[in-house]
């Protein structure tokens, strides 16, 4: 009997699923070597079928998306119970990713923005309610948590695979590895490891030339003309997250002429990704008086978003004060 495989999609955009499909024929290896038991985006399955499985009966679960509501949380706990290996797959599951930026606002504001701002066509100002009595009985929709959480804040995670989404060649490599492990040809990495990544940061894979950096002004890449295609982007004054972001993507964005935005998350052993970027950007500022420094820092209009774009929910502070303060 083939080992069982599952993949789940919690609070996320679906890009991770596409990245898996982007492995092309490699996807056939999954089918060849695994019995896919649960993959809502690819096949029909019911939660109750999973609930009925024996604990630990799924060998490998790729869990993408973060925990936004009680449904996400329920399935995360369920899949944890049923799976031998639970992989936090993609930036959302690993560190909260873009959905995690919602932690900058209290839930009430998020709902309000979704249902009652000028871009929403909601003439009667109707808000959803989490439970409602209808003649057929009480209806429930999932309830939002105060803040979004990455997977590891809810259940124990065996492996992490960052990226928004993880690069397909990295996914392919991981599939190869697991297939080998199943065949007894390779060993699993130690529990808790981050897999499908490099061991340094994006600069390591970036072909651009770099010098000792002294920045007199931060700017946006669209405001420089022309951008030097061979010189370090940070040296050109654009806050590039590459120096603090884990390698593994082949420096895809800098190679394409854009700054790294940090989707692969922190390097090995780093406790807080944003702190690493704070210190990286401030280290290259060429000024000594508070006024001068502040003037240069004005070139980073949204510092919190800049350093925590993908990592806010997984950071030490996790959320904006208002998000947890206001119930």
């Amino acid at each position: 009997m083939k080992p069982k495989f599952a993949m789940y999609w919690a609070a996320s955009c679906g890009g991770c699923e596409i990245a898996v499909l982007n492995t092309h024929e490699k996807i056939l290896d999954v089918d060849a070597n695994f019995d896919v038991v649960f993959w809502p985006v690819a096949m029909d399955a019911k939660y109750k079928d999973v609930e009925a499985m024996e604990d630990g009966s799924i060998l490998l679960t790729l869990f993408n998306g973060s925990i936004r509501n009680d449904e996400n949380e329920h399935i995360a706990k369920l899949l944890r119970r049923k799976s031998k290996l639970l992989v936090a797959f993609g930036s959302c599951a690993c560190e909260g990713c873009i959905p995690g930026l919602a932690n900058l606002s209290p839930v009430g504001d998020i709902v309000h923005t979704a249902f009652n701002t000028i871009t929403t066509d909601n003439p009667h100002g109707i808000y959803p309610r989490t439970s409602y009595d209808v003649p057929e009985g009480e209806l429930h929709i999932p309830t939002l948590a105060k803040a979004l959480r990455p997977l590891e804040q809810v259940v124990d995670v065996d492996y992490y695979m960052p990226g928004c989404p993880p690069e397909s060649h990295q996914i392919a490599a991981v599939i190869d590895l697991v297939v080998k492990v199943v065949k007894g040809e390779a060993e699993l990495p130690p529990k808790g490891a981050t897999i499908g990544v490099g061991d340094s940061t994006v600069c390591d894979e970036c072909p651009r030339a770099r010098n000792v950096k002294m920045i007199k002004e931060f700017t946006r890449i669209q405001d420089i003309a022309p951008v030097d295609p061979t010189l370090c982007i940070l040296e050109q004054g654009v806050p590039c997250n590459g120096p603090a972001t884990r390698s593994g993507c082949n420096a895809r964005c800098p190679q394409a002429g854009a700054q790294c935005i940090g989707c692969y998350g922190p390097a090995e052993g780093v406790m807080d990704y944003g702190a690493r970027l704070i210190t990286a950007f401030s280290s290259v500022i060429d000024a000594t008086t508070p006024e001068e420094i502040d003037h240069i820092l004005d070139g980073i209009p949204d510092p919190t978003g800049q350093v925590y774009r993908f990592n806010l929910a997984g950071s030490l502070m996790k959320a904006n004060k208002s998000a947890w303060e206001k119930a």
């Binding site: 600069c203 390591d204 010098n211 370090c232 603090a244 210190t279």
Partner: protein, 669 residues
């Protein structure tokens, strides 16, 4: 904390007599640590009256041996006081000294707080922090380096000369570097010294000659230090020996070149702007060395290409217009900075009119005016060069003890003002007024001198002078300088017309003190004076090992104090030389090359140039010999690839958690 092996931690809480125990319930702290920190590995917690006593140390040593302690926390005084003591005790018992942490519950708790409950609670937090941290400490080995027996002394004033002679006489080599053409410093400009009124030149010249001829002293005048690298015991120093345009081998110091030179310029340095010198000159007759230097900026030959009068007349062909600046590289083990002071620029006090009103003089100008070798041959006259003043006002505290300029007391100005009063009185018979805020005549025989000047009939007005002006209000004031001040003893405003005003200007740090400090890696205080290691107990050492400061570079002081400091620093240097080697703290940063991405963000951060970029491997690397252990790069590495010993992330994170009493129930004290 490693999972495999729990550390065995001993906690020792010191009473320090009643210093700690008077405010902190030390027994409670020890019991609490034994119980609440057990899960962290604390297996024993004791309190003792004086942990630093030999009995206290033995207690720790015994526990290390008998209980097999792998970590020790001593809750006592500041690590700056007794860290070494307890590290040595641990070492004696066979435990690596760096596995000991001091938790300061005296300086940081018992001495600064009063509420016993609060102080006890805070002590627990501090102990908890230290326990968490010590578990993350790693065994380190001290780094031993040999000491180069040569010494560099920067500045050839009386303090530097004293230092040089002490070390040279002890048999070790000294490089004495002086920026000016001659050693001697400010003291060589003075006529008389207070309070003994002995002739400044008479007592200084023999010392200068001794320094100039001593076989163990290499005298480098007209020279400046341009670069300093290395660390205690092993400094590499680059010195620029400026071109003199006079061949020192050939010159006999006969002085003919100086005599024949047709061009006179104002001498801003030695004559304090009050007299002239030639463009090829020795600053004064007793200069050491007595070879002249050429002032390239003013020399007619260098400006117009013709003249060369000096060359024509030099009997030994010593003039060499082709001479170039020379760069010398020397290795020394210790450095003494005796770079002295600048006079406060009295023009800044615009209401005293210096620079506008001709007959307002500064103290240094007056020194030259009263000096027999000065521009007026010692005649005290007005700026017209001939009129003797009938009345003179001496203003104290010019630029000192004044919020607008310098807050500090310049120490010497009171005595200097009294000396001036005496000299004016003696040589001109003029009426002398001294305007002072407070009369400060501390030290031996100083106040007696004040009494003497009082008896000579000098008039003293206590009050800060508001203004010196030549705007007369009546005929009595016409043509005079009017000193407007409040006489605080008489309780009234006074306008006192005089012929001459002498400003007893304060002392200031050298204009380039900050840069010089940077060059040698030492810091300046807010005022700009070099900072000593300890204001009372270590006044000549600095925070940088192997660098000492003496004389006015450290702060305003008189000649006896400067000489005493010069000698004191030499004793410290000799101590180092005789020890032959020195151990350095093993606090260093290092880069994990696997994790380094070569982003080069750390490259610009190290002021000691310890970080180099290896282009072939595209990684950065740290030279441990140059690293001073500040940890800036550790904190800056965006990849977390740099780590530091002694102050690692793990240690500090653990201490933060410990201080916040994470996972402990002791309440919000």
């Amino acid at each position: 904390m490693s999972d495999q092996k729990q550390e065995r931690v001993g906690v020792y809480v010191c009473h320090c007599g009643t210093n700690i125990a008077g405010t902190v319930d030390v027994v409670d702290v020890a019991n609490w640590a034994a119980e609440k920190l057990k899960h962290q590995g604390v297996i024993i917690a004791r309190e003792y009256k004086f942990m630093c006593s030999s009995l206290g140390q033995e207690l720790i040593e015994k526990d290390i041996k008998e209980l097999g302690l792998t970590r020790v926390v001593v809750a006592a005084c500041s690590p700056h006081l007794h860290e070494k003591t307890f590290r040595t005790a641990a070492k004696n018992a066979g435990l690596n000294p760096y596995l000991v942490e001091l938790a300061s519950i005296r300086e940081q708790v018992s001495w600064v707080h009063t509420d016993k409950v609060v102080a006890t609670a805070k002590s627990k937090a501090v102990v908890s922090g230290a326990v968490s941290r010590v578990i993350e400490n790693r065994a380190l080995d001290e780094i031993k380096v040999p000491i180069n027996p040569n010494t560099l002394i920067v500045g050839g004033g009386v303090a530097g000369i004293q230092s040089a002679l002490e070390i040279a006489n002890a048999g070790f080599h000294v490089y004495l570097v002086e920026r000016e053409p001659s050693i001697g410093g400010h003291m060589a400009q003075f006529d008389k010294t207070f309070p003994t009124l002995d002739c400044s030149a008479c007592i200084l010249t023999p010392r200068m000659v001794e320094a100039g001829t001593h076989p163990n002293i290499t005298l480098l005048t007209w020279s400046e230090v341009t670069n300093v690298a290395g660390y205690v015991g092993n400094f590499h120093v680059t010195i620029k020996k400026k071109a003199r345009f006079v061949n020192e081998e050939l010159c006999t110091g006969c002085g003919i070149c100086q005599e024949k030179c047709p061009k006179k310029v104002i001498d801003d340095v030695y004559e304090a702007g009050l007299g002239y010198r030639k463009t090829v000159y020795t600053p004064f007759a007793q200069a050491v060395p007595n070879f002249p230097v050429m002032d390239k900026e003013n020399c007619t030959y260098f400006i117009k290409g013709t003249c060369k009068a000096c060359e024509k007349f030099c009997p030994t062909n010593a003039i060499d217009f082709a001479q170039q600046d020379q760069m010398l590289n020397i290795d020394v083990g210790n450095i003494i900075l005796a770079t002295g002071y600048d006079l406060f620029d009295a023009r800044r006090v615009s209401n005293y009119g210096y620079g506008r009103l001709p007959n307002v003089f500064t103290s240094l100008e007056f020194e030259r005016l009263s000096n027999a070798a000065g521009p007026t041959s010692g005649n005290i006259v007005l700026r017209d060069g001939k009129t003797m003043p009938k009345s003179v006002g001496i203003i104290h505290c010019v630029g000192s003890r004044d919020k607008n300029f310098n807050n500090y007391c310049s120490t010497i100005c009171c005595m200097q003002g009294l000396k001036f009063a005496h000299l004016v009185h003696e040589r001109t018979g003029a009426t002398v007024y001294n305007f002072y805020i407070d009369m400060r005549t501390a030290y031996k025989a100083y106040d007696e001198f004040y009494q003497r000047v009082l008896e000579e009939g000098t008039l003293f007005v206590r009050g800060k002078v508001a203004e010196v002006t030549d705007a007369a209000r009546n005929d009595r004031e016409k043509g005079k300088l009017i000193i407007q001040c409040e006489d605080t003893l008489a309780g009234k405003q006074r306008r006192i017309p005089v012929d001459m005003v002498i400003l007893s200007s304060g002392l200031q740090p050298r204009k380039d003190a900050k840069e010089v400090g940077k060059l040698f890696g030492i810091s300046c205080s807010m005022d700009g004076w070099f900072t000593e290691k300890h204001p009372k107990l270590d006044p000549v050492a600095t925070m940088t090992e192997g660098i000492y400061i003496v004389g006015c570079a450290q702060g305003p002081k008189d000649i006896p104090s400067s000489v005493a400091q010069g000698a004191a620093a030499s004793a410290r240097v000799l101590d180092k030389i005789l020890q032959k080697e020195v151990s350095l703290e093993p606090i260093k940063a290092s880069i994990n090359k696997e994790a380094c991405s070569g982003c080069r963000i750390c490259n610009g951060l190290c002021p000691f140039n310890a970080i180099a970029f290896i282009a072939d491997d595209m990684v950065s690397d740290i030279n441990p010999a140059l690293c001073q252990g500040c940890g800036t790069c550790v904190a800056a590495c965006p990849a977390g690839a740099i780590s530091g010993t002694g102050f690692s992330d793990a240690q500090i994170m653990a201490q933060i958690d410990g201080l916040l009493l994470k996972n402990l129930e002791i309440g919000n004290y």
